[in-house]
């Protein structure tokens, strides 16, 4: 990989971290309401996988922890922040919020709150791709907890039988809210569960973006070449609580400290520094630039954007301009 790309990737991950940090502040200032699930600590997963795919062209879908997937897919950061603020200029016009970012202009097909629901939706996107005959793929990012839903098993089965071009990425962060994986799930290694459906799968370190990219490239190539689905498990850890009110009583500070040493931004920046690709100053400068962009551009846009009009409450329930030939009403 070119050093310029390496620098870009590191800068992207720093941007994602600081973007999430800033949404946390906005939440504390009560400018953002609802649930807010942050991706901090897991950045190498979405960044590395999508770097090996075609963001903007491949379809991406995920759960409620969705800001970074949307950003890497190409959704404008301003619009995501405005969505968190519930503004009319937001990605979903303020109707979805943090958990439901949508941007079909870059084929980011949404964040969903029902754990496990995106599995079949992703396979459906893959079915659509197959019908259109393009070489796009669908990529579904979900947590380890989602694999205990029926949709996991049902969808893997159908995706395999129908050879759908879908990549399932399991972000195994070892917890589903406060329930440790060993307390809820018979098998800790999620990739092993997939063998039952005759889908190739593998498990990798999700904190080292180089490892993620190497694994993702194989997975993406497999799916894109028409061989059917692939299941990629990436071991990761979230820095923060599950959502905003989480005292993290279910895990030890020692465990957190161990994982902090494996922070994806730390690992990658150390590597690039050692190689002489970047200096300490580079990182500091980026952080400054990023914070300025977030403040002057992104947060400002969100704060200054208009609220949706209450008169528009009933918009977007059904097609607002339906064709009378199909809808009628019947004259009687």
């Amino acid at each position: 990989m070119e050093t310029s790309d390496q620098k870009r990737l590191l800068r992207e991950m720093i941007f994602y971290r600081r973007f999430e940090d800033r949404t946390f502040e906005a939440y504390m200032e009560r400018k953002v309401g609802g649930f807010l699930h942050l991706y901090s600590g897991q950045e190498a997963v979405a960044t590395g996988v999508l770097e090996m795919a075609r963001p903007g062209s491949d379809y991406v879908i995920t759960g409620y922890r969705d800001h970074v997937h949307a950003l890497k897919a190409g959704a404008p950061a301003k619009e995501i922040m405005a969505e968190l603020y519930g503004k009319e200029t937001g990605s979903s016009k303020g109707r979805g919020g943090s958990m439901h970012i949508f941007d079909p202009t870059v084929n980011f097909m949404g964040g969903y709150a029902l754990v496990g629901q995106p599995f079949p939706l992703a396979a459906g996107l893959a079915k659509g791709i197959k019908m259109k005959g393009t070489d796009q793929i669908a990529i579904c990012f979900l947590g380890d907890g989602a694999n205990n839903q029926g949709t996991f098993h049902e969808t893997l089965n159908m995706a395999s039988v129908w050879k759908l071009p879908v990549l399932f990425v399991c972000e195994n962060n070892l917890y589903a809210i406060g329930t440790a994986i060993d307390r809820s799930t018979a098998v800790r290694d999620q990739y092993k569960r997939v063998a039952a459906y005759n889908i190739p799968s593998s498990q990798h370190d999700g904190q080292d973006i180089d490892i993620v990219m190497e694994a993702a490239k194989k997975a993406v190539d497999h799916v894109r070449s028409g061989k059917g689905p692939y299941f990629l498990e990436l071991m990761t850890y979230r820095n923060r609580g599950h959502s905003m009110s989480d005292a993290k009583g279910y895990r030890t500070r020692e465990e957190e400290a161990e994982w902090a040493k494996r922070d994806p931004i730390l690992i990658y920046s150390e590597r690039l520094k050692k190689a002489g690709t970047i200096s300490d100053d580079d990182v500091k400068n980026w952080e400054k630039e990023i914070d300025k962009e977030i403040e002057d551009d992104i947060v400002k846009f969100a704060e200054e954007s208009p609220e949706p009009r209450v008169e528009d409450l009933g918009k977007y329930v059904l097609d607002d301009n339906p064709d009378p030939r199909w809808i009628g009403p019947l004259q009687s």
Binding site: G90, K127, N157, L318, R325, I327, G328, P329
Partner: protein, 326 residues
């Protein structure tokens, strides 16, 4: 004009829509090689192949979800659920996803799926194959729910549902699949919205939907010999409801009855009662009546099943009550 059965009407609509648009697909359990439990997709697998006429595994929630995901990028799936009881397994993807995606995305993504399913009692299928559940779908924002009563509507409404950009639930009925009617040979569409006056009358409005329209029509005939002129109104669309046509009819007849095969509580009948109360309470000359199933899981035993489910006698008795004749 040719006389065709309800199931043939559905089959013809599938065939025409699939021929018209390569993005239309059909999916469901045993709809392909077998041709559908009620033959609604008979012969289509041979004609359109595996990619477009899909025999799914028994995974209602996820195959519905696959249809929904595909619909988000331009596919138009017609999803068959073998019995409305099984649709309970698909409620997450249907109600939490299909019905809400347009809204949650601020109108940027939509899910033009059609879900067809028979809902109703047939002949001793017992409690787990006799659900009706229309009320559950009609109470969900973001869905359209229609109940074609005849081959004409079964054909014309399915075709409209495929072209419409909203998720549409079509509730059929096991006892209607063999019902016959003349329908035009030339292609036509029937709108998804609007109740229909299927028989004009002046003394009482008998309101039905799905199979109960037929009970209302029979009742109207009986009432004629009693010197009562009954108007029969087919709701056709449960969501949205056509409040205007209901109001106009009740304002004309000043009396009404609503007949349904489902249990009463929080149901279509209670909703119609509410609509009339809100729209034209003062037009009423008599206390209205709801005809509905007994509040029990549908029994297996023939006599018990008969007792649980309303028939023409029940609707007729109800109408006499509204008319003050008993």
């Amino acid at each position: 004009m040719a006389e065709i059965a309800y199931w043939e009407a559905i089959q013809r609509a599938h065939d025409e829509e699939m021929a018209n648009d390569p993005m239309v697909i059909a999916m469901g359990e045993d709809i392909g090689v077998v041709g559908g439990t009620y033959k609604a997709t008979f012969g289509l697998h041979e004609k359109y192949g595996d990619e477009r006429v899909i025999d799914t595994p028994i995974s209602e929630n996820s195959y519905t979800g696959i249809g929904i995901g595909a619909s988000m990028i331009g596919v138009r799936p017609i999803i068959e659920i073998m019995s409305i009881n099984f649709a309970l397994l698909a409620l997450d993807t249907l109600i939490n996803a299909a019905a809400k995606i347009r809204y949650m995305s601020g109108g940027r993504v939509h899910c033009p799926i059609v879900m067809r399913t028979p809902g109703g009692t047939a002949h001793q299928l017992a409690a787990q194959h006799s659900a009706r559940l229309a009320r559950m779908f009609m109470s969900t924002s973001g869905l359209r729910v229609v109940t074609p009563r005849s081959p004409l509507d079964a054909y014309g409404m399915l075709k409209s549902a495929v072209r419409c950009n909203d998720p549409v639930i079509i509730i059929e009925h096991e006892r209607m699949y063999n019902m016959k009617e003349d329908i035009p040979d030339k292609e036509f569409f029937r709108p998804l919205e609007g109740a229909e006056i299927v028989r004009k009358g002046t003394d009482i409005t008998l309101i039905g939907y799905n199979y109960s329209v037929h009970l209302c029509l029979e009742t109207a005939k009986r009432l004629e010999s009693d010197g009562v002129s009954a108007e029969v109104l087919d709701l056709r669309s449960l969501k949205p409801l056509d409040r205007e046509t209901i109001r106009r009819s009740v304002e004309k007849t000043h009396r009404f009855l609503i007949a349904e095969e489902d249990e009463a509580a929080v149901g279509v009948g209670s909703e119609i009662m509410a609509v009339v109360t809100e729209e034209c309470f003062y037009a009423l000359d008599a206390q209205p009546v709801r005809i509905h199933a007994a509040d029990v899981p549908v029994p297996f035993n023939r006599e018990l099943e008969k007792a649980a489910i309303p028939d023409v006698d029940d609707v007729y008795q109800g109408a006499l009550k509204v008319m003050g004749k008993i």
